[in-house]
Symmetry: C2
Subunit: 210 residues, 2 copies
């Protein structure tokens, strides 16, 4: 039996954690990496998968396949980690991946300065006083351009791919948290990287944390 | 006949405008005033009423009574200023107030450095390239404390008063714009004044604009 308790680290800690949610193609990952480099913080995006695999014993390939993904067909009873007690045998691979990553995210937040990208980290750490929660968004045109350059997606399918990726991220977030993805009130700082540019976003977030 | 055209100032201008939307009691007005003082910008909150009265010839008391208010009973045909052509005689006092303030807001944005609080200014100026749109929010407890100190509202009615004020602001915004109040994607920067504090919000917004 497993119960996740979010209310355990409301005390103030010396180190800081920045969680970074992002629209697909907004440059959120790049911004997070630059802040981490600038501040000398550890950076976690895909790196969480390996850490969660080591900690949970789950095959890293299975974690990778289910990372930030949602398949509601296999998890009818799971809609908030706040109050539900469940047996791990009842859980879908998506749920087990989420829980394994949540444990690692809390472990990181308890112990070190870090930037953590995605994976509902702002919700998992919402009662952590040492945590800044950031959301990065951008206009569709800029995101299409960035996705084309960064991921080599064909131009014809760019818009559809971006909207589908956003839909998946918001569904994942809205499902595992009791909050709404992209609603300003769920973050401490939200930034438009189209208007501000990547470097200005980094500068603002350094101002936030210093 | 009157048609508001929002697409007329997409060019880059030397001066800057900061529009500031805010949850009731979040300290948004104070933050806006401090930024304006720090940058030497003109500051417009209630000041818009007097300016709109002078420009429109409408009695300032009527504008004050209808400022940032919505009475849908008297304005069944008005839901977006983007494309509707209408006769001023058909308009409610709320609509006339909105339009008079919108004209002043565009006039300000065309001519000077300014901070403008509320009144859908971010929507009215959404195509102005010299404009930063900011949203300030805070947790309910902090807002209750601020509202109690600033406006002397009785403690028993604080929560209700705040939620009602927010509801009015969001209804007003959602009605006159085609956007959603408090959705991160509708602003360039959103800040949580509870987590960050007023001074840090000011510092971040100065970083944004400089």
């Amino acid at each position: 039996m497993l119960k996740l308790n979010k209310k355990d680290r409301g005390d103030i800690m010396d180190h800081k954690v920045i969680t970074l949610s992002r629209e697909f193609g907004s440059g959120g990952r790049d911004i997070g990496k630059k802040i981490a480099d600038e501040l000398g913080y550890d950076f976690y995006d895909k790196e969480l998968i390996e850490a969660a695999a080591q900690r949970s014993g789950i095959d890293p390939e299975i974690l990778e396949q289910n990372d930030e993904k949602l398949n509601t067909r296999f998890s009818p009873s799971f809609n908030s980690m706040n109050s539900i007690i469940f047996s791990t045998s009842q859980l879908s691979l998506n749920d087990r991946t989420f829980l394994a990553e949540a444990e690692i995210i809390k472990e990181i937040a308890n112990n070190k300065n870090a930037v953590i990208v995605g994976r509902c980290a702002n919700y998992i750490l919402e009662d952590y006083k040492n945590c800044y929660n950031v959301f990065i968004h951008a206009n569709l045109e800029d995101r299409m351009e960035r996705a084309h350059k960064a991921y080599g997606l064909p131009e014809k399918k760019l818009k559809e791919a971006i909207l589908t990726a956003d839909k998946k991220r918001s569904s994942y977030y809205n499902y595992y948290s009791d909050k709404q993805w992209g609603k300003a009130q769920n973050y401490h700082v939200c930034l438009d990287s189209s208007c501000l540019g990547i470097d200005k976003c980094v500068e603002i977030l350094l101002t936030m944390v210093k």
